[in-house]
Amino acid sequence: MHSQSMRSFKWFWPWQDREEERWLRQMSLEGWHLTSRSWPFYTFVRGEPTDYVYRLDSSTRSGRDLEDYLSFFKEAGWEYLGKLSAWHYFRQSVVDGQPSEIYTDSESKVDRYRRLLWTLLTPSPLSMVVTLAAMKKFGRHPPWLVALTVTIFVVWTAYSVAAAIMIWRRIQEAKRAQLA
């Protein structure tokens, strides 16, 4: 028997992680379990309705460090779904109605958003410089190409500024919960 799957369109910005986690949990409660995501599409497989809690993390580790980090989460009962966007996706079954958190103090909650910000903003200045350098090297360009490049840069810059503001807000929220 072939397992039934479904592709679903849903738009979440990277800083809407809490909303996304809630939506994925709701989908699992309805019997649709996340298998992959290629923005802005989510792929679900049909199964028994299960109370799964989903958690998104922003680790920047790679290689052996990444393996170490993933095996640590596995040991703690988290199933790894992959790095499906700017985030790593984890899930586990909810025991006695209490969904587990992966970050439990405000310091590490703040760090999680700082790493996300870093992941989102690092590529932009570098690739802009590389593109401009390449264009300069190859001399004259048709006006449409120049216009296209400028448009991409403007949109990208606007996105980066919006991301920085929204994630900064999330950081402030996480800090507010901190008294120590």
């Binding site: 040991e75 587990s100 992966i102 970050y103 439990t104 103090d105």
Partner: protein, 117 residues
């Protein structure tokens, strides 16, 4: 050990304090999570991400060390430096608790029939 070297880590966060307590004898990561939950009578829960980052930092600073490893798990324990930091933290907490006990007594006394108005 130089006193300042220990002092720079104090006060510990609640999570770090419990992690160091758990590693007085060798234990693996998941064991630390369970131990903390039980020992704190459910008051403190340390998530996998918080614990992993704390472990990375404590290893880097030489407060804990990996003592054993099998195919599934890694075991960690306090170093001498880690023990000294933990002892200093316990002393700080004793002072805090003593001060709290005094306040608790007078709060109970003054609390009879007073309001915030």
């Amino acid at each position: 050990m130089v006193r300042e070297e220990v002092q720079q880590y104090l006060p510990l966060t609640e999570a770090t304090y419990y992690i160091l307590l758990a590693l007085v004898s060798p234990l693996h990561g998941y064991g630390v999570m369970q131990w903390i939950h039980e020992t704190s009578r459910g008051l403190v829960t340390v998530g996998a991400g918080t614990l992993y980052n704390a472990f990375s930092l404590l290893l880097k600073e030489g407060l804990i060390v990996k003592v054993d490893e099998d195919e599934r798990r890694k075991y960690y324990r306090l170093t001498t430096k880690g023990k000294q930091v933990l002892l200093r933290q316990i002393e700080r907490l004793e002072v805090m608790t003593a001060a709290g006990q005094d306040a608790k007594a007078s709060l109970a006394e003054a609390g009879k029939g007073d309001t915030d108005a």
